[in-house]
Symmetry: D2
Subunit: 350 residues, 4 copies
């Protein structure tokens, strides 16, 4: 293979260029992946539009992207898995495997984690919108033929949703609501359905998103800005939902959460807020004995996510709105910035 590759590099706010870069060289314990498809995440959009994601400011040009699928083209000596030629999805979060969090099965909280396509390090860590990507062998999860490149690049965001489900134990036969009908909200609906929840409701002020939620498996969809919202919830559930997934990052959604969840219920926080603090009715948490839990990335749900998609139990295809070639990466990012009209935009690197 040639020594150089193309990659979508963020040079500044709204300044994304397809640059030629050196193909990374193999290192011990690693695998070199020929990337075939990359999905655009909300954090990519934030870096692109604002030059920062939360507290992580971009300090140098770097390659975006962390939702990728590809093919293994080389592995270091001694690496038995994955094999060269295997199609894989990549867990963009490299865990050390040995700190106390990793040993306890909470590798998403690893003390030494390194995340692809992220400005959380200085300089930023390059991501996956590049023809070749060097990752730890253990970050590669083989996928069967039923999972094509597009679906493969959906596994990462689906893992976020599946991890959120895992945070609440069983939802089987239980009424749940997802607040927020963006990509992660929709994936949470799909995950909740795969996990046996019933009834599944979605709330979002945007009609198009409610419509999409119903298409991907929600049983009902509410506009939370309607005055009758709480009455509608009561009509559907009696005394409220057992579990609420907050996937909007909208302050009013979280405040409402404490009202639409029943006694003993659980609120799972997935959405990120721009506000540093939010006023909450803590006494309600106490006297109604609620659980309010954060859900961060994906613990250890990769094999489960792959099996659910490969078996056809879940269908992520409807969420892929547009696929553009690498050379149009900047256009793809601009498209993804739109909050409506598209769910997931992907970049084709083949």
């Amino acid at each position: 293979m040639s020594k150089t590759m193309l990659a979508a590099v963020l040079h500044g706010i709204k300044d994304l260029r397809v640059d030629e870069r050196a193909i990374p060289e193999l290192e011990p314990g690693k695998a070199l992946v020929r990337v075939r498809r990359g999905g655009i995440c909300g954090s990519d959009v934030h870096y692109f539009e604002e030059g920062r994601f939360g507290s992580f400011a971009v300090t140098a040009p770097f390659v975006l992207g962390h939702e990728v699928t590809g093919e293994v083209v080389a592995v270091a000596d001694g690496v038995s898995q994955p094999a060269v030629g295997q199609r894989v999805v990549v867990n963009p979060s490299r865990q050390c495997g040995h700190c106390d969090y990793c040993r306890n099965g909470r590798g998403n909280l690893c003390r030494n984690v390194r995340m692809l396509g992220s400005a959380s390090t200085k300089p930023p860590t390059n991501g996956g919108f590049s023809e070749y990507l060097l990752v730890g062998a253990e970050q590669c999860f083989p996928v069967p033929p039923q999972i094509d490149d597009g679906l493969g690049a959906m596994i990462e965001p689906f893992a976020v949703a599946l991890h959120a489900l895992k945070r609440v134990g069983s939802v089987v036969g239980k009424p749940v609501i997802v607040t927020g009908g963006g990509p992660i909200g929709l994936l949470t609906v799909i995950a909740a359905r795969a996990c046996g929840a019933t009834t599944i409701a979605v709330s979002d002020p945007v009609a198009e998103r409610r419509q999409m939620a119903l298409q991907v498996g929600a049983d009902s969809a509410f506009d939370p800005t309607e005055a009758s919202f709480k009455d509608q919830v009561a009509a559907l559930t009696g005394d409220g939902f057992e579990i609420l997934f907050e996937a909007s990052g909208a302050v009013p959604a979280l405040k409402q959460a404490f009202e639409v969840v029943r006694r003993g219920g659980t609120i799972v926080q997935i959405g990120v807020y721009s506000a540093p603090e939010i006023s909450l009715p803590v006494n309600q948490l106490l006297v109604r004995e609620l659980q309010f839990v954060g859900s961060f990335r994906y613990g250890n749900v990769w094999e489960e996510a792959i099996r659910l998609v490969a078996s056809g139990r879940v269908n992520l295809q409807p969420l892929i709105s547009r696929v553009l070639p690498l050379k149009q990466a900047a256009e793809a990012l601009a498209l993804a910035c739109a909050k409506t009209g598209v769910v997931k935009v992907q970049i084709d690197l083949t």
Copy 2:
């Protein structure tokens, strides 16, 4: 209403008669149910064919049946739920609500439990194959119109399966196997699918049952008497299933269980054995750190079971093989004795 009713009374081995009996009178805290449909369970078959079920010998004539759906026709003073006129399924197991097991959410182990249609008491406790049935108000679970009488009478055996699933925590995205393709085995397949398991395999020596298992949602079906069984399991799963539900009550199935479950896996016992003891490789349990857990009846899964059926997430209709009127109760029992050709036989009491 008239003062008498008809009921299917077991007088001796294979001696089931439709007798006229007094309609029970209301008691405090109770509801009178006009039974509309009753399913025949394996224990009914044992009482009918052998005059006993395990250690419970029939000591006096009694009404069989505990899988029932009906309509509430009267409730005692002060009972607020269910309401007269509501269609309900009946939990045949009356729990005291206050012993240490009940308080801990393990009401299926209640110290003071009383089971309908059972010879565990002396004299036996009458069951539900009678036009009217007096039960505790809290034993009645209202069902929506989507659940017709036939599906309603399937909720009880489905609750057995759902409880077994609940005993293992999450099965989402995990490979599971059900050993035994009888009614409970098939219901376990359906429950496992509703709970997100993938892949789901079934093993049964009878081809017809394997076929039925595939129809209701199993991904693959094995004949465990084939020499290549273990190779087939390895081809499908690599190193074995994560969870095995033993629903056959066949000794070879349990012995194989310890070989087809992977390290760290769980075996759930649902089937009853005629043998008092079974030789098991306990060191395997230790060095492979398995869990071997019993699953007894249904803890507290009634609302979940009803919601899963009502929402259409699970379809129990294919398991209802035959429905006969009350006057043909003896024929219905004889039919149910056949191990093949039928899955569930029900009695129509309308």
Copy 3:
């Protein structure tokens, strides 16, 4: 016995009188208890000082008290447990045993609960500062001779602490902190120690309370108003506590909680706030994947609490500061109002 008894009745703010009242008559399923000792709880103090507890305003005179031990003097027909003559502690919270919460082992959230000595009903429900008390048979838990009257009346508040511990699963070998060194905070220290936590820290601005915390088993005690508080936490724990029990009801304590708990940690809310809402850093909950859980009363910890005290594993004696006779009930309440100098004040009804 005579037909009347003495009881400490709250007639208005700071107007507590020892009145003569009729001894309640037995009802089905109930037990009549000759109360021997009653402890004064924070809610009693609120009713006494302010005429209300949170949103519950006193609408009519009623008997205070819900931390009681006594002797069973009569039981209704058919009640097999407790037996007449048994010494018992009383669970002041009567659960229905049959609603969905009760069936799921979360009886503290029972839909039909009735609480002794509480203005949550209209009229208020009489409590236990009376010579005789009529309660459900299942509310009585026999205690062995090692538990004298004083310790018996400590079981109820200890159950609050033990339930809080139960809300977090295992604390074995884990560093925990209790914020607030009042009666419930001290009992939480004792419970945490019994459950295997190490290290156990307490934070309280009051030196006397920190001293008491160290006496009952805390390993260290902090003044959270000191500028170096966070440095002290870091010196002790590295990156923070794994579990925090918020037992102060002080807003600054909860805000600090999110800073002194490590990634993946749990905050348990026990204390009640006067503020309706509190501003919290919700993004921290998300990116550090915390759990924030309410703990309400006591689920089902009575037998465990009794065994821990009876076995000598925990010693609650040091928390009993003063015992006054029933005729001095008003004095006892006044004493309990003091935030320092006393931990628990009890009333002797023998």
Copy 4:
């Protein structure tokens, strides 16, 4: 330092020699430990007496020992923890950190595990009865000064017991029994007490062991060969223990287990059997809804174990019966073979 060291090498049955061997050289990611104390485990005794441990036969001379404490004398480049000079205990089981078991917090079932002082590999893997030991940096857990060399070498067997406790969730306030009063049984008593169990019983046919169990914290001790054993259990517990830890590896103990555990209870298997299969009353597991779970080595309990010992919550000192210098290693092994008179024998390598 010199280039050679002394080590206790097993050359054949009962042929243990102190040989001179080369000090291992540092490798990437590793730490070199100057071993100070090593405890003799049952597996060491099996290798010494029989040349095998279960299915693992000794195929070449190797260094015994895996319960060790020492001081770090060198670390590979880039290793930040442990630091040179730190006193550490060594987890003898090296886990890969990245297989599905490791990622799920079940590293004790790691697919790529490598165990010190074990004939499970061919050739056997050398153990820790040698002056220097090369291990993965992540296998070293620093210990504070309160844990001296002897206590440090007790952490590994205590971790076995603590892991068994972790397998059952909470034991707080619950009656438990440990069958078998050998070293692991005694450590399980100590662990159960640290975790809040009450009452704790022990059963062992040997009076000396029962006596020792009472000394280290058991509340009662039974001779299971007495005809009145079950009556004694009933007198103590009513309807049986909630949890049973089988630490004897004796078949009768396991058979009795199903009789002395109450409905809904748990049996934890820690002891290894010489019999390949054991006949068990599986229907009891079903109708009494028991859990029967294996407990293999130690998952992730090292920090907890160290904190419990360092804090003084548990006292392991009474279990250390004898300490002999390395040159008397053969004598030490012979001593450890005795089933009575000693609990734990250690080898001093300073």
